[in-house]
């Protein structure tokens, strides 16, 4: 299945895009989605602990993703 991953801040800048699509097998976890992103974006290969979100909620990397889920990955936040 195709999963679109939203990228923010430095991740988006490194990827040169605010979202990137990856192909993952059905039943894939967020960790697998992130690995697929890293394959597509060499500049993110050193990033092994991104914050991950599914449907606008923080999600652990072992969560399974489904088609249509809103997936996002980003570095530690720095608002304020």
């Amino acid at each position: 299945m195709t999963i679109a991953v939203l990228l923010f801040a430095r991740y988006g800048e490194v990827a040169g895009a605010s979202a990137i699509e990856v192909e993952v097998p059905s039943g894939a976890t967020l960790a697998q989605v992130w690995e697929a992103v890293q394959v597509r974006v060499p500049g993110l290969r050193g990033e092994n602990k991104p914050l991950l979100a599914r449907d606008r909620t923080y999600a652990r990397p072992d969560q399974v993703v489904g088609p249509g889920d809103e997936i996002a990955a980003f570095p530690p936040v720095s608002g304020g």
Binding site: L6, F8, A9, R10, G12, E13, A31, K49, L51, A53, R56, T57, Y58, R60, P61, D62, A72, F74, P75, P76, V77, S78, G79, G80
Partner: protein
Amino acid sequence: MPGLYRILDRPLDLDEAVRAVAGPDRGAIATFLGIGRDHNAGRKVLRLEYQAYPAMAERMMREIGDEVAERFGTPHVALVHRIGPVGVGEISVIVAVASAHRREAMAGCAQAIERLKAVVPIWKKEYFQGGAAWIEGPAGIGPFGGSWSNKPL
């Protein structure tokens, strides 16, 4: 439902945040303003730029409001964060908490800004003389303590 939770790409208005939490049964309002500062880590800062994941940020800000309501007994919370360019001296974030009494308002305000800085998906980029850099929170902060572990939320 009381409370104001917004990501905005325009100058922030303190009076608007105060009005959003005020009411005749509340004798105390505590506010916190984050403001673009002209220096950081020994560097002269020229301006800031904030990016957010707006839909999730507003959801998380509402969740912080719920935490404040549960812990301090008041649902009257405003969290407003600006995105885009923020000049030195301009307001980047406003927290306002109203309560019948001052202790709950001040403690709720302190908790809200701490939680906002730890979990709300917003990032700051600093433009200084000779460059620019994304600021990233410490690794120990975040919804899971910043790690991929199974520590509960």
